[in-house]
């Protein structure tokens, strides 16, 4: 087309005026039979850095593991106050936005209509956001907090109990254990995701900037985000996403194969694990090729149905009344303990606040570029108020219910029935041990394994789409082979780390990226408020 292309939409427009054209830095060429359209230099540098990190970690396994773990521990113990205080800022900002007039701003402009129905939208954001963690920590974390709280040494410096614990008081320890678990899974993690997602959606759909991490920083760095400042932000986001996904894929394969061994006696060998990774990557591959609607959304919905089935089963077959009343008791316990648990300074429970809370916050934050990008991608057309209600409040309630059903049931089995099997089982088997105490174990455990695998697929496919978009400079219509490349690459990195060792080392490194991203997120808060103020409401 030869005509000038200066058309802006009618009506109120708050598009940011910039000379940058999306895709202008992209290399668009033909390599063999494959058409590529990738951002220069983000694609190449992130790809090469990831390969270099994997090779170096495999070559210097012992020292790499020690170094990355030391870095992670140093960050979460030195800056625990920073992580905890920042997460509080995110929660408060979200809650303020819900009730303020800024909540009326619609993502995509005043006339935009939602891209997805509530059910499809919710299924996708939940599957990408928490997924697998709920399967493994749903039983083990409440049990762990309960055990450390009720122990005689709770409250002493070497205890891992939250706050002062409740030595010897089983009922109080149970309340505290549930409150502490919910604290790690409800408002705070979802606020972290909501901030990133809201910032991206706002600057992309309302301001017309590309859908990539650097766009959030336009109000702060201006045109400089198109240069190296932006490249570094995007590369860091790719890094955190790929290593976060690959290492949890590796660990997930270990956990799923442990479950298969427990259920079917299948040996948990390296071969089984590698086949699991290949299988998960294969399904994810089909999903990304089929696209967002036919692949990712459909799988997320299947995932949601399976999760609801398992949850309903535990509620109906397990201690139904205890779970239903427990939901409200745990909610109250959470609210009561929230001020103390989220207090960033003067903590006497260093093991808990640094080893659990700060670690969790760093972990959620390192996942936030991925989950935030994905949530932003599917949230066009919602108002800020709807957005925060559905990304922050409803998932939080679902997590409270899930933790009550799984963790609460496991604690009841331990306290009321004296069942030691669940508490003494290894972490990856606790869910299955808990289900073994209920009827129809074969069916539910099988459902559990299927859920674990599908949860991984839904993380892997949405993660590949996100990395593909970032490395294509915010273009979401890059050629298919690119998303295939990232999906396969992620599986290969997971297999290399699984066989060569180094999963723990690189996971520690990816959690460490939570520190720079905390600063990124705080700046994003400023950008969100600035950006929303200039929108028509």
């Amino acid at each position: 087309m030869t005509e000038s292309t200066d058309i802006t939409p009618d009506g109120d427009s708050t598009l940011i005026e910039t000379d940058y054209e999306i895709g202008q830095d992209n290399i668009n060429t033909q390599i063999g039979p494959v058409n590529v359209d990738v951002h220069n230099p983000v694609f190449l540098i992130s790809g090469l850095c990831i390969v270099a990190f994997v090779v170096l970690t495999l070559a210097f396994q012992d020292s790499a593991g020690t170094m990355f773990n030391a870095m992670r521990v140093w960050l979460t113990s030195t800056f625990d106050w920073f992580f905890i205080a920042s997460a509080n800022v995110f929660v408060v900002l979200c809650l303020v936005l819900v009730v303020s007039p800024l909540g009326r701003v619609r993502l995509g402009g005043t006339d935009a209509t939602p891209d997805y129905s509530y059910s499809g939208w919710f299924a996708m954001l939940f599957a990408a956001g928490m997924g697998i963690g709920l399967m493994f920590y749903g039983v083990s974390e409440p049990l762990s907090h309960y055990a450390s709280s009720v122990a005689d040494n709770a409250g002493s410096p070497d205890s891992w109990a939250p706050l002062a614990g409740a030595p010897g008081d089983s009922e109080a320890a149970r309340r505290l254990g549930m409150a502490a678990t919910i604290f790690h899974w409800a408002l705070h993690p979802w606020a972290i995701y909501a901030i990133v997602a809201l910032a991206l959606a706002l600057f992309s759909y309302n301001k017309g900037l590309p859908l990539t991490m650097r766009s959030i920083f336009y109000p702060i760095f201006g045109e400089r985000i198109w240069g190296w400042t932006g490249h570094i932000i995007d590369i860091l986001a790719v890094f955190a996403t790929l290593f976060g996904l690959a290492t949890s894929l590796g660990f997930g394969a270990e956990q799923a194969s442990a479950g298969l061994e427990f259920l079917f006696g299948l040996p948990a060998s390296d071969t089984t694990k590698v086949f699991l990774i290949i299988g998960i990557t294969g399904i994810a591959l089909l999903s990304v090729v089929a696209g967002l609607d036919a692949g990712v959304k459909r799988l997320s919905e299947i995932n949601m149905v399976l999760a609801v089935l398992l949850l309903l089963f535990v509620v109906i077959v397990g201690p139904t009344v205890a779970i239903l009343s427990g939901f409200f008791h745990n909610l109250v316990a959470y609210v009561q303990n929230l001020p103390a648990l989220s207090n960033p300074v003067g903590r006497t429970d260093a093991n808990f606040s640094q080893g659990w809370t700060a670690f969790y916050w760093a972990w959620w934050i390192s996942w936030s570029p991925f989950v935030g990008m994905f949530i932003a991608r599917v949230s066009r057309g919602r108002t800020v108020r709807e957005f925060i209600t559905c990304v922050l409040l409803i998932p939080s309630l679902v997590c409270v219910f899930w933790m009550t059903a799984f963790g609460g049931t496991a604690i009841s089995q331990l306290v009321n029935d004296g069942v030691q099997a669940v508490a003494s089982a290894p972490l990856e088997l606790q869910l299955f041990s808990m289900l073994a105490q209920l009827p129809l174990t074969e069916i539910t455990s099988f459902l559990g394994i299927v859920l674990v695998i599908v949860f991984f697929v839904t993380s892997s496919d949405s993660g590949s789409l996100v990395i593909d978009t970032i490395t294509a400079g915010g273009k979401i219509d890059a050629p298919t082979p690119q998303r295939i490349f990232w999906c396969v690459f992620e599986g290969l990195v997971a297999i290399a780390l699984l066989l060569g060792g180094g999963l723990g080392a690189l996971q520690a490194m990816s959690v460490s990226t939570g520190f720079p991203f905390t600063i990124v997120l705080l700046l994003a808060c400023v950008a969100i408020v600035k950006g929303l103020m200039s929108e028509p409401r």
């Binding site: 087309m1 005509e3 292309t5 058309i7 802006t8 939409p9 009618d10 598009l15 054209e21 999306i22 895709g23 202008q24 063999g32 039979p33 494959v34 058409n35 995509g108 402009g109 891209d115 997805y116 992309s204 759909y205 017309g208 900037l209 590309p210 859908l211 090729v289 089929a290 696209g291 967002l292 609607d293 036919a294 692949g295 991608r377 599917v378 066009r380 915010g474 273009k475 979401i476 219509d477 890059a478 050629p479 298919t480 082979p481 998303r483």
Partner: protein, 138 residues
């Protein structure tokens, strides 16, 4: 013979479409057919447009420019927003051809290579599954 011709247009690569556009215009004049130019975009900003409204406006401007260039009396445009154009383009175009009531589709395609054995090109897919006539211009 033909009364409604649909022409899928990729505004980001409009310069590569000249042959298809010329063909469509010639056929339209020959049969006094109307021409509908169809574009597909994602709702996120792209190199072509920052918003779906801007995309629709550009499609309309493009079709008017075609009308002026080839003296076509009866042109229109349609802008479709897809959640994931990389994967959904074929189905969206299929839907567009029904919406437009087209009886001929003229579309440009690159010369097929090795990859077409794995993934059909958009035009290849369209020609295989469309119920109406398709003219693939290379």
């Amino acid at each position: 013979m033909y009364s409604h011709i649909m022409v899928p247009v990729d505004l980001a690569h409009a310069e590569q479409l000249q042959k298809a556009l010329q063909t469509a215009a010639d056929l339209a004049k020959l049969y006094q057919a109307s021409v509908c130019y169809v574009g597909v975009s994602a709702s996120a900003p792209s190199s072509v447009a920052h918003t779906p409204e801007e995309f629709a406006a550009k499609m309309e401007k493009f079709s008017q420019a075609q009308a002026a260039k080839y003296q076509l009396p009866n042109v229109s445009s349609a802008a479709y927003i897809s959640h994931d154009p990389t994967a959904d383009l074929d189905d969206t175009l299929m839907r567009a051809s029904k919406d437009a009531g087209a009886d001929l589709v003229v579309m440009a395609s690159h010369v097929p290579g090795l990859l077409e054995h794995v993934f059909a090109s958009n035009a290849g897919y369209f020609a295989s599954f469309s119920k109406i006539s398709v003219l693939v211009v290379r």
